[in-house]
Amino acid sequence: MLPNKTLLATAVLGAMLATAANAETLRWTRSADSLTMDPHSQNEGPTHSVNHQIFDTLIYQDMDVEYQPGLATEWHVKEDEPTVWVFKIREGVTFHEGQSLTAEDVVFSINRARHEHSDMRGLLTSISEVRAVDDYTVEIETSEPNPLLPNNFTNLFIMSREWAEEHGVEEPQNYAAGEETYAVRNANGTGPFRVESREPDVRTVFVRNDDYWGIDHYPMEITRLVFTPIESASTRVAALLSGEVDFLQETPVQDIERLANAEGIKNEQGAENRTIFLGMDMGSAELRTADTDDNPFADRRVREAINLAVDANTIQRAVMRGNSQPAGMIAPPFVNGYSEEMDEVLEADADRAKQLMEEAGYGDGFRVTLNCPNDRYVNDEQICQAVVSMLARIGITVDLVAQTRSVHFAELAREEYDFYLLGWGVPTMDSEYIFNYLYHTKEGDRGSWNFTGYSDERVDELTVAMGQEIDEDTRNEMIAEAWDIVHDEILYIPIHHQMLTWSMRDDIDFQVQSENTPHFKYLQFNQ
């Protein structure tokens, strides 16, 4: 008996050592927690970041923001039917609680996300019908041809239909109902991690899903992931410095240098999918806050003068401490339709700007209010302060009103602003999104973020057409033409593309993802 026991003990010990060598915990922090585990009720960054660990999407953007097959293995527009997209669903995938994934779950999830209580539905309005053709094929029909449909699926998480029915969560959370649904705090996905425990706003613990379909395909080195949101920026940094967390997702600009010099810690930087710019109301006959009885912004020369006066390079150096990429157009670099030539930063020229002001009849300048958020973008209020002093040089007296985001965006939406700061990210990675929301005439569902009063028939036409054109070359020509028109109009004053900094223990190998969505299945430890 004795030798057997020893053998067993050795085997157990060996197994323990083996797991100990592989067991890697990563403690992750960022400023905000996920709002809900219900994958379709909120369209919000931190919520998607958490859900990407638990759930899979049909298609996702990897760490280089390239589109990769997730639960869909291939997708294409159906031959002879330009309004139908066909998705082949991955076989042999199971949910954390054991259900097998079929096309029915995909159909169910897309329809759930289209429900009126879903916050994801804005991305799916072109869909008219979703159907399962067989167990592993889904067809999605759109009202018009939609070449960008797959791009809208990168945050569309797939749930189990059986699970949803079992727990009565076939619909996303309804706020008016005044009660919590099972899906708010419970999740059953197919993703690389399963949830072990969760206390909202305090701690969420994930463990590796050893049955993950991609376990051999991705590094999957983390066995246990502990997420603790820390709202205060200085505490977040202190927690990394003191070794209480390993990975900090949103490094405050003022601490980047300090962390770079700290022992055992490194920063990773990359461009974020967000451009910061100024908008002007050029459409109104008279400005609300200006001391003129006409609208100076309606004159292209005034807009050009402002563009020449706002020095993006100085803002990058003095306000952002080098942590931004000065911009010449309002599309981030990886977006389809981006052109380096257009993104070239204008050389600031106050003399030429003054001359333009003179020509436009505003040689004595004018007074106007600039509205800014003070807690939405990196150093937003300081950027606006810099703009105020830059415009003072060409005679424009700017009164700055910086407010918290919830007030800023509410007033912006009510069209109360003459001159404002805005940041824009492009989740579909295509210019169509920018034209649809920022340049199209504000009417119906389009142009909902166009507060400039700009309206151009050709741009509207091109915007609608680029949303439906299947042929890639024709489409790209349309996009280029639209950019040429709006670039020449100077509707927005581009400032910079925001940069994203992640800080981590220096034995971690993990690059910044431009959507600010870490996929921890890719994270590696340097032994």
Binding site: G122, E231, S232, A238, S242, S406
Partner: protein, 325 residues
């Protein structure tokens, strides 16, 4: 007695009503919750639909009336941010705040009284001078700065105490406590000091001033003349009489500690109701904000009511007045 009680309770209800009114009217200036709840792709029609769903499109008077009726039944609706019942959220977070407040109150009272006695009795010693000077820092530095400094010294530089959170907690079913684990206790130290420091200096200075005054009174001189030991004179005769105003202040400060916990909780990521409130403000989570403000108002009203009743019990003059009518 009964008339007095009824009068005070009616006053308390009136105060609560006024707080509700003020906080409710404030909500119209904090922004639009619907914008936070819907993503940037939402259309104006979507926003209008959600507004209608939440009843935000109704006249303010109607909204306020609904709020008061529900609040009277401790029904605060569902959080716009986390889609969970507000009452659950607050009850879940309350133990963390109450533990922090209690520990820092004990810290402030014990240390405050001890240091106050010391600085009064040995007021010429260098240590007393040092304590008095240092206490100025406690009064003048803002709480968040003290918190940040403590984190940098004890968590980052020395690495002896945690920088954030509550450590491991033990769930007793109805109460989630951090007092039973080592990590929970260690996590409590820095926030408790941060929160209690201002109260500590206040109590210390009060005890010192009162003590100095009492020590110069005739009965103390007489006690000394009787040849009583220094200890008995200082601690039995002097301290006891010092305590009356100190106890009053401590009672009133307890509410302040709970309310001030907002800042400390934010700095230390302490999962209490204060941090919940700050997050709610950022998101314009009106139901949570309203419930929190009502809760704080209730704490103050109850404390004041108790203090009033204690005065009534202690001070015979109040009773005589009441009886005379």
């Amino acid at each position: 007695m009964l008339a007095f009680l009824i009068q005070r309770v009616l006053q308390a209800i009136f105060v609560m009503f006024v707080v509700a009114l003020i906080s409710f009217s404030l909500f119209h200036y904090v922004g639009d919750p619907v914008l936070n709840m819907l993503g940037q792709e939402a259309t104006e029609a979507d926003r209008a639909a959600l507004r209608a769903q939440l009843g935000l499109d109704q006249p303010v008077v109607v909204q306020f009336w609904n709020f008061v009726v529900n609040a009277a039944q401790f029904e605060f609706g569902i959080s716009y941010r986390s889609a969970r019942p507000v009452t659950d959220l607050i009850l879940e977070r309350l133990p963390a705040t109450l533990e922090l407040a209690t520990i820092s109150a004990i810290f402030a009272v014990v240390m405050g009284i001890l240091l106050g006695i010391y600085t009064a009795l040995r007021r010429r010693s260098w240590l007393a001078h040092f304590i008095m000077t240092a206490s100025l820092i406690g009064v003048s530095l803002p709480t968040f700065l003290i918190g940040v400094l403590l984190i940098y010294v004890f968590a980052v530089e020395l690495g002896v105490l945690p920088a954030f959170g509550r450590g491991e907690t033990v769930d007793l079913g109805w109460w989630d406590t951090g007092l039973l684990t080592t990590s929970g206790l260690r996590s409590l130290i820095l926030p408790a000091i941060t929160l209690g420091l201002f109260q500590l200096t206040l109590i210390m200075r009060l005890v010192r001033a009162e003590m100095l005054e009492v020590l110069s009174t005739d009965y103390i001189k007489f006690a000394r003349a009787r040849g009583l030991s220094k200890r008995v004179v200082n601690l039995r005769h002097a301290l006891k009489n010092t305590m009356i105003p100190v106890i009053t202040i401590i009672g009133l400060q307890l509410g302040t500690i709970i309310a001030f916990a907002i800042i400390t909780e934010t700095v230390f990521q302490w999962p209490g109701v204060g941090a919940l409130f700050i997050t709610a403000v950022r998101f314009v989570d009106v139901p949570v904000m309203a419930a929190y403000l009502m809760m704080i108002a209730l704490v103050f009203v109850v404390i004041n009511l108790v203090v009033d009743l204690l005065y009534y019990a202690v001070d015979p003059r109040l009773r005589a007045q009441g009886g005379g009518k």
